[in-house]
């Protein structure tokens, strides 16, 4: 890629297989990807392919069978606060208030309360949760829960934000709203984002690059660079054309029996 850009994430020859009754199941094979600092990458693939497994390996929650994942040139060996993760089912701590959820990682770093408070204030403001600091997750709607999830991941000031179908559990309207909000947050924080989705529309709306995966074992099928200015217009003919192209790419993959 362009020499001036800094690669923050480098994945080379990644392979992941799970033991199965007879033999093993290869989820990801021969996977290579580099992500630039500040880039928004969407990973798109048929359901059941290794998308989530890939993200979990970057997070350090799962270990690769072979190959390497490097963040800022350092091999990933375990989970760490330098990678923030946002989960599809929110995964908020139900006994903690919004503020306490967001401060979780800071508590673990043993940051003094006053400092924690300042940081959580900043992210509460950023994701638009002002006035809900003391609410508990059960009092919030799905969209608001995920705002907490995003703020919690950002509060640790990670180098990269990993998002596993974060809006998959939301209704269509909330989902569109949250996509816009996420872009606003992204533009303000300039974090690198790796975003998993199975929605072509979402990927084209959000990403700098859309990485389309094959069905199992997942490899990269094609990478689309999306150069449309943001905010993108979903009704724009070129947006629709791109969407259609990626969709047919994805569908041809979904129709193939997985190996």
């Amino acid at each position: 890629m362009d020499g001036g850009m800094k690669m923050i994430l480098q994945i080379t020859n990644l392979r992941k297989q799970f033991p199965k009754e007879n033999g093993s199941l290869v989820a990801i094979d021969d996977f290579n990807l580099e992500v630039e600092e500040g880039e928004f990458v969407c990973i798109l693939g048929p359901s059941g392919c290794g998308k989530t497994t890939l993200l979990r390996m970057i997070a350090g929650l799962d270990k690769p069978t072979s190959g390497s994942i490097k963040l800022k040139g350092k091999e990933i060996a375990n989970t760490g606060p330098d990678r923030g993760m946002v989960f599809q089912e929110f995964a908020l701590f139900p006994w903690r208030s919004v503020r306490k959820n967001i401060e979780f990682g800071l508590e673990i770093k043993n940051m003094p309360a006053a400092e924690r408070h300042k940081i959580s204030d900043k992210y509460i403001e950023l994701v638009g949760l002002k006035g809900f600091e003391d609410s508990h997750p059960y009092e919030l709607s799905g969209g608001m829960k995920q705002r907490v999830g995003i703020a919690r991941a950002l509060a640790n000031n990670p180098s990269i934000l990993l998002m596993d179908e974060p809006f998959g559990a939301l209704d269509a309207q909330t989902r569109n709203q949250m996509q816009k909000e996420l872009l606003r947050v992204w533009e303000e924080t300039r974090k690198t984002v790796v975003f998993i989705t199975h929605s072509v529309d979402e990927a084209v709306f959000l990403a700098d690059r859309v990485v389309v995966l094959t069905s199992r074992p997942s490899k990269i099928k094609e990478i689309f660079k999306i150069e449309h200015e943001r905010p993108r217009d979903r009704a724009d003919p070129s947006f629709l054309a791109l969407r259609k192209k990626i969709l047919s790419e994805l569908e041809s993959e979904a129709n193939q029996p997985s190996k």
Partner: protein, 294 residues
């Protein structure tokens, strides 16, 4: 008479509400605050509880008249005995009901606290560590089916009259708390563990900041069940033998000297104590599970 109105009022409106939705809503909106609250079922429940106890007392009264009031005293006689037992020291024991309650309560609290202090950490460890769970589970499974009362004679022999009843409660409370804590730890959502790990949590952070708080409502369920069992244990254990009085000893003594109205008064006291502690525990349990968002 007002008491009867109190019972039937809510029932009437209950039926209005379920059978004629539209009309009832209009009517209910005009109701003063207290009556509107009946809609929420709280007073309705109390109404039924009062009705239920009233039916029980009537049957009791009828039975004792029909049989023999010397062996089955009427509710009125038991009430008189109950009031008297609190006011005047018992002729054969030399203490009032308060003293008996305090003696039982002291044992209860010591046994209960001991059980919590041991069951909670052991349960957390057995749930959290696969190794500890596999070692501990067979032991627990062997000891759990032994009724706590079956331990009492052995405990008397080994620990003497003072610790016997305390340890009976200890065993009665220990197992429900232990198994609920283990179950709670095993129920922790894997996603919460993942989320905490991506936030940089170490294994001890996971334990203190995810597993332990997650287990608290389960612990409360164990405590509520344990409290119910605990009261049964203490009375039985005291009857087998205890030094220093107690409600169980009180009941047994009254039965032996044929003061059946006082014996029943002791049973009423046990019922009230059990009900109070279990209700208090389930109140806390509900608050805690609300706090957990369940």
């Amino acid at each position: 008479m007002p008491a009867i109105c109190f019972i039937f009022l809510p029932i009437k409106y209950y039926y209005v509400r379920t059978h004629d939705e539209g009309v009832a809503v209009n009517k209910l909106n005009k109701f003063p605050k207290m009556l509107t609250r009946m809609r929420d079922g709280f007073l309705l429940n109390i109404g039924f509880a009062v009705l239920s106890i009233a039916i029980f007392l009537v049957i009791w009264y009828g039975l004792s008249i029909f049989l023999d009031t010397a062996y089955l005293p009427t509710p009125v006689e038991v009430w008189d005995a109950l009031v008297d037992s609190f006011n005047t020291p018992d002729p054969s024991l030399g203490v009032t009901m308060w003293d008996s309650i305090m003696a039982s309560l002291k044992r209860f609290v010591i046994g209960f606290v001991l059980a919590l202090a041991i069951a909670v950490p052991i349960g957390l460890i057995m749930g959290f560590s696969k190794f500890a769970g596999m070692i501990g589970k067979p032991i627990v499974e062997v000891f759990r089916p032994i009724p706590p009362i079956a331990w009492v004679p052995f405990l008397f022999v080994v620990t003497g009259m003072i610790w016997g009843p305390i340890l009976a409660i200890f065993i009665g409370v220990l197992f429900p708390v232990l198994s609920n804590v283990i179950f709670g730890v095993k129920s922790v959502e894997p996603q919460l563990i993942d989320a905490a790990r991506t936030q940089g949590a170490s294994k001890s952070d996971l334990f203190a900041k995810v597993v332990f708080p997650y287990t608290i409502p389960y612990m409360m369920t164990g405590i509520r069940i344990g409290l119910g069992i605990g009261w049964m244990c203490i009375v039985a254990a005291e009857m087998i033998g205890a030094r220093g009085g107690g409600v169980g000893i009180y009941i047994l003594t009254q039965a032996n000297i044929g003061r059946y109205d006082y014996m029943f008064a002791g049973m009423v006291v046990i019922a009230a104590l059990g009900l109070l502690t279990v209700e208090a525990a389930s109140y806390v349990e509900r608050r805690v599970s609300k706090w957990m968002g369940a």
